[in-house]
Symmetry: none
Subunit: 230 residues, 2 copies
Amino acid sequence: MASLVIIEDDLRVRTALTKALEQRGHVVMQADTAMGGLQLVLAHKPDVIVLDLGLPDLDGVELLRMLRPVSDAVVIVATARVSEEEIVRTLDAGADDYVTKPFSPDQLDARIRASLRRLGGVAGERTRDVVVGALRINARSRDVSLGDQKLELSRKEFDLLHYLARHEGQVISKKVLLAEVWHQPFFTTDKTVDVHVSWLRRKLGETADRPRYIHSVRGVGIKLLAPVDV
Amino acid sequence: MASLVIIEDDLRVRTALTKALEQRGHVVMQADTAMGGLQLVLAHKPDVIVLDLGLPDLDGVELLRMLRPVSDAVVIVATARVSEEEIVRTLDAGADDYVTKPFSPDQLDARIRASLRRLGGVAGERTRDVVVGALRINARSRDVSLGDQKLELSRKEFDLLHYLARHEGQVISKKVLLAEVWHQPFFTTDKTVDVHVSWLRRKLGETADRPRYIHSVRGVGIKLLAPVDV
DNA sequence: CGGGGTCTTAACGGTGGCTTAACGAGACAT
DNA sequence: ATGTCTCGTTAAGCCACCGTTAAGACCCCG
């Protein structure tokens, strides 16, 4: 059982989904526009958002970007668009799952339950603030400060740092990073991680041969640590 | 009773398996993609993973390689592929068991229970911290300290020491070490082990003729012990 | 439709780690 | 005593991995 918001402009699809999901024990709220959906989400803080792309007033990806900072909900994108590129862009924008129409209510329900279970043990993980040494990461506003200095990080840089910080001290393999941060372990290479790490280190004011926060463990992965020195 | 993750893209197979295994008292989580499966595993650290090959987003063997360093779960591969070569490749990549479809839920359950028995209730082998004498090994951060001194170990050195430490007091043959630490019992030679042991001893501050932690047992293998002297 | 920002990929240099080879020393059997 | 086998250690070469810069593609904004 979960509370969810469906944002979908096609009336027939919307009511059919609503009915099917209610039958399965969920509490369902509906919106037929992006703005209406946003209001519902803000007002009710649902567990799950089922989002159609191709809304009349706003691109779904746009809405995703607006949603992400204000909601911790699992976002499942349901759409007819099937291009590989589109899927990547959408997942990259923060969607948790992607279903292509047509799909059965059963499948959607399964994905909803899977998503919830996924978050079950670690609720709020995505919006958790983390402090490591002088490094302070605010997940909702997505800003980072080192000591009293604000850092300007790009999206991937932030996500990467945030993930490492949430697993402080643990060595994380690049494969896992690609899966967890990039959501795409297959068509991207480990090199991508290296480059972002390099940029992060520069912004953190450290170098690879004198690491303070970001430590490479050769052949294994990366870990983030509070610096031992002052 | 065990907690398990099923990674299988065919909805019908997946739900059937889930239902059957839940009836037998297991806690089952489902994923239909490699990515989703990885997330589930990371979040919930299940005891067993049932893995279908031929997933849509990533080859099962690839996923296995990603899974192995982050999870101690028993991996049971369930697939329609039957080629001898495929089986070898899969087991070699870290799978614990291999079932070919079609199979009955009873058979799968039996294998799950067998695997768990094999594991002997020793949870978290691969990510377990170990202390032997003054030697402290942190598996997740891959740090090793001897007394109050940090040791800088390479990957193989760490893996070797960690394995020996997890089997403190047991004599381990080089063949077993090559299989368990090197994952390649055939194309590497025992000599390789000798060399790594030698390096380890140097870093541990001991020599072969005055061993403190690492003891060779001629013709049999290696064992690690807490030193008897001060 | 340009211009800034961001991400990915390619290229290159450097080096660290792994394996193999070689040599020596004991241990064990004959 | 002698040859064989195992083990310890060092040195050498090769390969994989890492760090970094630059270039190109893409997106996003006015």
